[in-house]
Symmetry: C2
Subunit: 459 residues, 2 copies
Amino acid sequence: MTLDAVLNRIDEDLPQSLDRLMSLLRIPSISTDPAYKADCDKAADWLVEDLKSIGFEASKRPTPGHPMVVAHGGEGDGAPLLFYGHYDVQPVDPLDLWKTPPFEPELQQTPNGQVIRGRGASDDKGQLMTFVEACRAWKAVHGSLPCKLTLFFEGEEESGSPSLIPFMQENAEELKSRIALICDTSMVAPGVPSIASQLRGMLKDEFTIVGPKIDLHSGHYGGPGLNPLKEIARIIASFHDENGRVAVEGFYEGVHEISDELRRQWENCGFDEKAYLEGAGYTQSSGEAGYSTLEQQWARPTLEVNGLWGGYMGAGTKTVIPSEAHCKITCRLVGDMDPTRLREKIRAHVEARLSPDAKVIWDQDLDGSPASVMDITRPEFEKARAALSDEWQREAVFCGMGGSIPIAGFFKEILGMESMLIGFANEDDAIHSPNEKYDVQSFHKGIRSWARVLAALNG
Amino acid sequence: MTLDAVLNRIDEDLPQSLDRLMSLLRIPSISTDPAYKADCDKAADWLVEDLKSIGFEASKRPTPGHPMVVAHGGEGDGAPLLFYGHYDVQPVDPLDLWKTPPFEPELQQTPNGQVIRGRGASDDKGQLMTFVEACRAWKAVHGSLPCKLTLFFEGEEESGSPSLIPFMQENAEELKSRIALICDTSMVAPGVPSIASQLRGMLKDEFTIVGPKIDLHSGHYGGPGLNPLKEIARIIASFHDENGRVAVEGFYEGVHEISDELRRQWENCGFDEKAYLEGAGYTQSSGEAGYSTLEQQWARPTLEVNGLWGGYMGAGTKTVIPSEAHCKITCRLVGDMDPTRLREKIRAHVEARLSPDAKVIWDQDLDGSPASVMDITRPEFEKARAALSDEWQREAVFCGMGGSIPIAGFFKEILGMESMLIGFANEDDAIHSPNEKYDVQSFHKGIRSWARVLAALNG
């Protein structure tokens, strides 16, 4: 009954909610460009004022970069829930590809429904405001918030979050909570509510194959002289077998097959494999045989080459046997794969395959992070999934994420806190690109979703 | 008797011969740098005057670039002998690595004997003057030249010879001769007189592997999406088998094994394989099994990768699956290998190995040239070899050349004329590098060698 009242209030208040989002979108808080420093500050101020109007104790907190916004509110037993979002946005170039000015947001009618057009509409101002609006409606109906809440917004997510870890370390006691709710992700398919429950880790490495001590003339040394370009090609070709599996010994240690229940959810989540591949210009999956594209993206590790270079790259021809060839790789990690041990295995694989007269030099300054696999047996996850399924009238899925979302790892490491990533963006939102948009449906049902999740987590 | 008189004259005149070379070396005739245009002209004038002083009818001949020098002299039956050289030199940078100024040549004593130090001392002013000085001595002793001679010097060899082919075409009748003598090569080993009788041809090609239609995020498409960098590595790795042989079908068509006599000459020519490889930082040959380094360099074809690039090459990491990867290759051709058919075979090899969703784009503007194999059964070759063996008291060898020497091909194509390449440079002359030198022994015995060759060819 009371949840219904909150949902009704959300429906009635939608025009005002959109107006508020519009005013936040008008602030060009581009964090990476120093020219917009004052605007980042202004966006933080806007949030502080808005949160105060709902009854939060909110403050702007200085950092060496852009400020954090931290707000506390609500009452009740136990630790608070934490909600995380970011108020900074990506740069807008190329500006000439925008059909309407990026910081003059507007509602537009499209063949797929009404959208909010403007930089940050989806990433992440529209998404973070879904939670703020849910709190506002709850407060309006009940006169109080559903439980103790901590809201935590940063202004440097799009510029590498340099202040985030030190701030979390310095304010750990203040930020520690039951669980972190994060609204910065997409739905698996339009209309399919999604909780990201496994995030892949990453390992970066870079190596140089060194052959002759100087660049040589290929008319003289071509043939008898080891060519680092041929050597590096042979080594890269050895990374995978003919079935697309990584051929590095022990690579799959710590990888677990997904449960039948998760596979069932994924098979029925509405992900259109054909359209996904065709969108990139592919007619088929070229990856690991026996796994669907979605399984490969969410639950299987990869070893990819991201950069490869050596020799002469200009116009025309230079008859050179170069002294060096270079390769950058990244691996995506799943399950319990250990980045440190994996790095050793990859390096051993390369070293075991070196020809006489070839040396390998490894780049020294590269990091790795393990995968984050959420404990979905915790009751919050199933409660949230049920709440989302109710709102969207479609079974919510525990999905994976192909990319990395460092914040969830930081919450775990620094604050010892699990994260639940629930987002309402769609793949076609054009985040980081011209003409970014957020569906009004995402915004509206997003607010309603958070109201239901808050009710479920405090039921 | 008369040859002995000429040789004596050469010995007596050596100080003056060196003085003349020094004055030519003082002219900074760097052809590639427009700042030295007047100096190129001055070097041509110097040669015209010097040749006139020997009795040649010599003239400076304009071209759109630097002038040619053409001189005719001598009398007798039959077609003349042609001698080719170039009076232009390489740039001198890095200037700070020169121990003495590049255009202030001097005689220096070194542990390996006396040298002439300066830009162009070896390449090619010192070498071309060996022939001019032989003519001078002959004329001084006999009052006439040994036969009809045409001397042909260009001033653009170090800057791509843009005027050479048109000039040869326009003046074909004037230049056509019995045979072309060229002095622009090295000896196989110090003190081993060498006639280059087989020059490898060259085929250039470049290809791009195209995968997805745009650069993709490797967190999303890594795995299922075809990666052009992995694709190009696999294709390059397929170019050779485990024995270092090129694995392109039909690649060795037109390749002939060398004769036992040539192999014997090469095995005994004083080439130090170990020192040659160690000089480049190698401990062993990595090439085609069953062939010596010298055979590989002179008589075996190669397929080498000279450039390879794609994806992110900057500092740090970019998690990208690039849309394209690029590769530049060159082949060295021997025997009767046909560049046009070989190009088709290589392209077919690549195309047959493409994965689904990979395309290949071939660069369109690349040329190829077949190998030049001299007809060493012509009597001039054996006569010259005997003359050189007499002078150096060491069996002269018919050697190959790993690199390409386009002039020999042009003489054949445009003037229908065989070339005999006899040079006295040494591998340590540092041509194209700081501190270029030419051994006084090379200069002195080079002059004597030409006197003997001229006598032998006119005996």
